[in-house]
Amino acid sequence: MFVRIFLYKIKELTRMRSIVGWNFLFPLVLATAFYVGFGNLIKEDPDTFKTIDVGYVNTNSQDSPFSELLEELSKETDEHIQVLNVQSFKDEKSASKAMDDKKISGFYLENGDKINTVIKENGLASTTLNQIVRAYENAKFQLEEITTNHPEKIEQAIKLQSKDLNLMKEHNFGNNTSRYLQYFFALIAMSSLFSSWISTSMLNGICANISEGGKRFECAPANKLVAVAAGTLAGMLIQSVSNAIVVIYIQYVLNINIGIPLGETILITTIGSGIGIAAGTLIGSLLPNPKYHVVVPLLFSMTCSFFSGLMWDQIKQLIQYKCPIINKINPAALITDSLFIRATYGRTDTYIQNIIIMLSMIVGCLFISSICLRRRKYVSL
């Protein structure tokens, strides 16, 4: 009987146009829109340091140490960063014109001992240009100070100033997952939670107070637990297949490297589908009115997905910073976080914790649903 109900449920669910549209088509369309919109940003981070185009006007008759500094900053460093791209101008007017034409971000005007930084707008690039002058002046002040109080150490100071002391190092986490990949993780989470209306649709067919089919089902001499289990598993299978299609589409058709072995991604999304199914069963059992069986799961999935970063990638982290408990009870955030952690750091304690919370959610929802659904008696139908 289990196999028969299981197969019939699969047939029934796959014939529902809305389920095919929401669970199979919608994630693929959205993934394509993401890819077309900002797929390029995953490979080329827009925040990466870009060489600053700057002008240089020297009104003095000879080269200064500052021009040597600019020359030094125009060379590529070991980290493949070229800080400045310097263009020399005869006078301030031509440099101003180039700045207005957006050919340069600003220019240095050296007049006598004084160096002025002229910019068009405030921002990080302008602050960086100003910082270069500050660093140059700082070195001058320091040498003056040491010449006054410790003249015997002046040579050592000059030597140290010109040396790269490597005082800082960046912490290495191994993989650096792009923040734009978060949108795709949130999309996979959304797709997983869409299984919630698979279970509400399934409940429509087994509750006597909802549909004619439900009346027939309730009075049939079949084991209800077996029937519900078969229906739930059929829904989960359909959603898992849908998730697998989305993941394969992202990874192999759109060619975006998720950074997690395919099997493990499908495993995480299958657990996510389980949450969706369990949450849908809970919604269906708590809200007997079939009118809410589409709207509430839809609101549930979209709200959870929004807070996991589907429309604004920062939101999940902002919640994590201000009130992390919300991310631990939001199933979409748990799925997104598990995928992000697995892709960036591997199987950490937080990853395992997320999986355990998701599994507990499934058990919790199904337990409450079973209490609500068991041994129902209808006074009138």
């Binding site: 925040d47 990466t48 700082n138 986490f173």
Partner: protein, 387 residues
């Protein structure tokens, strides 16, 4: 009047959705607009990098560095000791940079073994990362040089701090500033409005139109004494009025949230929003003509609106998109809405009203008409073939 009332009563079931989209708009739209808003300044203002510090040393040298960063940057609480969490906070822009001062920091500096004395976490090789790394490096290098040249620890800290404060006087000169150089709060809010208003309109208008398509309702209206013309006029007027009320609701929300900001260009933003309203109503009509299933309507509304928002610069700035995507996006109505918002933002007040603005608004209205026409064709064909 009865048709009019019926249309308004029919949207009762969408109140949940309406409140949700409105809440998203007022809360997250506001937050996002405030984050990206920049002002038009004529004085040099140094960009401050938000930095989280974990000080495991608590020595005079490490405290000196912390004081320097507090004075020159925006120091925030990391709120976690987990390096992974700190990495995610920097990666997602909660703060830009994190400095981890190890326990042996001052010992290393004093012994002259200063290589890799400090660890930092940043979101890749960005401009803010370069800037702050340079600043901290300059500071530490100064301290190290003073220590190597025979100064005491306290002298090295005091001299470096004094120098750094003196250098604050070195400021760049801002030569000129145009409207294009800043992005106003209102532009941010009205850009986000594209998503919220479209979803609100699609949900409510579709619900109202669907109600009118219900065979029972349709038959009851048909047998009433109301003429065909009067009935249709009532439906069109009520749908339009509903659209206007919902649009005004969003506009009022934007202006209440932005009462602190100057709103001299409001009239143009409002004109643009009403053009968006027509697109929203048109799209709702088009979707309702395709199907009568609430579920499929919700799916199509989400699919079309979300896809357009990602492709037309509502959620992701158009500056980050490739030229080919932007060219393709010109065939979508939200592109012209967002483009009009940017145009209003970038153009001086007196020059907004002109051919460019009128063209953008006309294209939006044209898209609305296309949606209406498509909806009418589909409805007609469905009637013709009794689908």
């Amino acid at each position: 009047m009865s048709v009019f009332k019926a249309v308004f009563k029919s949207i009762k079931s969408t109140f949940g959705n309406l409140i949700l989209y409105f809440a998203i708009f007022t809360f997250f739209g506001n937050l996002s607009a405030k984050t990206i808003a920049t002002t038009n300044e004529t004085m040099f203002k140094e960009s401050k990098v938000s930095v989280a510090i974990i000080n495991n040393d608590e020595s005079a040298l490490s405290n000196g560095l912390v004081d320097y960063l507090k004075e020159t940057q925006k120091v925030v609480n990391p709120r976690t000791d987990s390096l992974e969490d700190i990495n995610e906070n920097t990666r997602f822009g909660i703060y830009n940079y994190a400095v981890i001062i190890p326990e042996d920091f001052s010992e290393k500096l004093s012994n002259g073994d200063a290589e890799n004395a400090l660890e930092y976490i940043s979101a890749g090789a960005s401009t803010s990362e370069y800037l702050l790394t340079q600043k901290i490096d300059d500071y530490l290098k100064d301290v190290v040089i003073y220590l190597e040249c025979g100064y005491s620890e306290q002298e090295a800290i005091d001299l470096t701090n004094k120098q750094m404060i003196k250098l604050e006087e070195t400021k760049a000169l801002v030569q000129s500033s145009t409207e294009e150089d800043h992005f106003s709060f209102f532009s941010g809010m009205y850009t986000f409005n594209a998503y919220s208003l479209m979803m609100i309109l699609c949900t409510c208008i579709s619900s109202a139109l669907l109600f009118m398509k219900n065979p029972d309702v349709k038959n009851r209206i048909s047998v009433s004494g109301m003429s065909f013309q009067k009935r249709n006029t009532a439906i069109i007027t009520s749908v339009l009025l509903l659209g206007i009320i919902l649009t005004l609701l969003c506009i009022v929300a934007v202006h209440i949230l932005g009462f602190n900001y100057s709103s001299d260009k409001s009239i143009y933003y409002i004109i643009n929003t009403f053009a968006l309203m027509l697109i929203g109503i048109g799209m709702a009509y088009f979707i309702t003509s395709i199907t009568s299933s609430e579920n499929i309507i919700a799916m199509l509304s989400n699919m079309l609106t979300l896809s357009m928002c990602f492709l037309c610069g509502v959620f992701v700035s158009t500056d980050l998109m490739s030229a080919s995507v932007l060219k393709a996006a010109q065939f979508l109505p939200l592109y012209w809405y967002v483009s009009a918002v940017h145009y209003i933002n970038d153009t001086p007040l007196g020059q907004i009203w002109g051919t460019t603005f009128a063209t953008k608004i006309s294209i939006e209205i044209l898209f609305a008409l296309i949606f209406f026409a498509l909806g009418m064709i589909i409805s007609r064909k469905k009637e013709q073939y009794a689908v």
